[in-house]
Symmetry: C2
Subunit: 337 residues, 2 copies
DNA sequence: TTGATTGATCGAACCGTTTCGACTACGAAT
DNA sequence: ATTCGTAGTCGAAACGGTTCGATCAATCAA
């Protein structure tokens, strides 16, 4: 691999001059510039990013820490982030923490050792210890989707409470009264808010929320499937379901199908977050879609600002909350009583 | 950020001794080891990976170059690769080339500047120039899914011809004779093989393949949708469809639905490659599933071997072809004539 | 007693850049 | 004529590690 020394020797100038010439920093005569460029071309010089980064103090890599890459929400996020950051010559290191809390800290430590320029993270844990850990990290970090109380970092998300409120109100307007909610672990930021949004909507219409109708699963599909099977076997089963994620909605739909119920005739189903190719699903799900592109864009830009502005780490944290969009499908119908 | 110097000073030993102690390379007395470890802990020392990599000549990062992160095939691949490589302390840089041929070269160049330890790639292009480019790269590279003729690199894929042959034979056994094939650009390795597998199966049963029944789209869903709409509007429309990818199958299904046909009663549908949550799709697709986990695992291990063995770059290239699995769904039925 | 071996430690060179301060020439200002 | 500013170039010092060879004391064989 040709180094800057080879170029310097070939061009008959000092190493520093090559650096000045190639980066356009510092004055270089047209003559030397030409010679350097030719020499560089001749020896096939490619700057060693490692050396550049070492000198600079940090690399032009950014870490993207996600819980579940299989979730289309996150893979779409990755795509947009990757595309935006490539414009500023950054590359993205992706790590899946598989919802393991301890892996999150280890991952962040590892990224720090790598001296990444910044971190984009959808945290899974939300406890004070982790918040302290994040604060001590002392590098540009932007949180997406899930916040960490007390971390005091940039945060980008959609209005999670509004999402379930929209769905619940939609079902109520349609005539449903026995509505069940299948949510995630309420210790998670978004899970708690989505449950709250459901409760608020029910309360606003003076509808009771029986404990049996408010179920804790996780954002994956499997657990939701089991819970919905249980739910639909109750003597007093709900007429409509609000699920807290896309994968849960799919799990619920499968449970409905497998038990021989029909959706939407017997059970109405709604969910948060888009499902790819939802249009080939039958029925098409009625969902509160998060504007993933917007979230990714804003988050990436927050991060870029923090990385480029000197002292950007200590800028006051900003928050961006996007508004979800109700997408009406064919998975809801008035209750048939 | 504490450096090795800080540790050395705190422990009262030489820099080199700290290095020896921390890495377990070279003999260190129990006494010094203890002092170094304590000092390291006290100052909060985290080795600078950039410096280590610079010295070593390459980083412990590997590049994963994919055409389309949104495709579940690739996101599953990413997940497995990420998990396997993290065991050897590697991290993964993900780049989406969005099927842009020129972006592939640029991306590879960029990864080379970053001195990544190796590259895992699902190439989109397959031409002699690109093969030459890959050969000149002179670093550990493993190709997944799509091969590049003449590149002479490790290659991991499933038997693409067998996949469509299985599907076509299945349809033929069911009684279908007018079977259409919707494939990708045959300049792509897998697309060509999948078409070949279809042709072979048809020929083996002495069934004719009319040009109108063999359609070129791309692996995305949109184009397949358009083409299927056209196909089903023909006076002599096919009774069964073999699509060459998961996204295409979904696009085809949507087209069938939108035109008011019923699947499988009027049109049978099959596809290559799994669709996540295919079990909630109605009908459930009959597909030839690629063993993604196996592909990812083998590819990652090929790469690890090449990276760890010294001179691994010049090892003779290996090939691993996995066998796809026919997964029967409810999207096929005998033709109703 | 001497020479060889070994364990523990150290200093210095090196990886490939960037960048700071110094130096030279040369035209402009005084 | 002398000073000043500046364009152009250079050498050397970083950045933060690893590693090679040297040093030195202690152990051991002859």
């Amino acid at each position: 691999m040709a180094t800057i020394r080879d170029v310097a020797k070939k061009a008959g100038v000092a190493i520093s001059t090559v650096s000045l010439a190639m980066n356009g920093t510092g004055p270089v005569s047209a003559e030397t510039l030409k010679r350097v460029l030719e020499a560089s071309e001749a020896v096939g010089y490619k700057p060693n990013v490692l050396a550049q980064s070492l000198k600079r103090g940090h690399s032009k890599l950014i870490g993207l820490v996600l819980g579940d890459i299989g979730n289309p929400f996150f893979s779409r996020l990755l795509r947009v982030v990757d595309s935006i950051l490539s414009d500023t010559d950054h590359m993205v290191i992706v790590v899946e923490t598989a919802s393991h809390a301890e892996r999150e800290r280890a991952t962040l430590d590892q990224l720090r050792r790598h001296r990444v320029g910044g971190i984009l993270m959808a945290p899974m844990t939300n406890d004070p210890n982790f918040a302290a850990f994040l604060r001590k990290l002392d590098m540009p970090v932007v949180l997406i989707d899930q916040n960490v109380d007390g971390a005091n970092l940039d945060f980008v998300s959609s209005d999670n409470a509004l999402a379930t409120t929209m769905l619940t109100e939609y079902l109520i307007r349609m005539g449903h009264r026995r509505i069940a909610f299948i949510g995630g672990d309420p210790r998670q930021w978004t899970a708690a808010l989505r449950r709250q949004g459901f409760r608020d909507a029910m309360a606003a219409s003076s509808l009771p929320v029986e404990p049996a109708m408010e179920i804790v699963a996780d954002f994956s599909g499997e657990k939701a499937y089991d819970q919905v099977v249980r739910l639909l076997s109750l003597p007093q089963r709900p007429t409509a379901l609000v699920t807290a994620s896309n994968l849960m909605a799919l799990g619920a739909l499968q449970a409905i199908n497998d038990l021989g119920f029909s959706c939407p005739q017997e059970i109405s189903l709604t969910g948060v977050d888009d499902v790819p190719w939802s249009n080939v699903l039958k029925p098409r799900l009625t969902i509160a879609a998060q504007p993933v592109e917007e979230l990714a864009r804003v988050a990436a830009n927050f991060l870029i600002e923090r990385m480029t502005h000197r002292g950007g780490v200590s800028l006051p944290p900003r928050t961006h909350i996007a508004i979800p969009k109700l997408v009406i499908g064919t998975s809801c119908a008035p209750p048939n009583t």
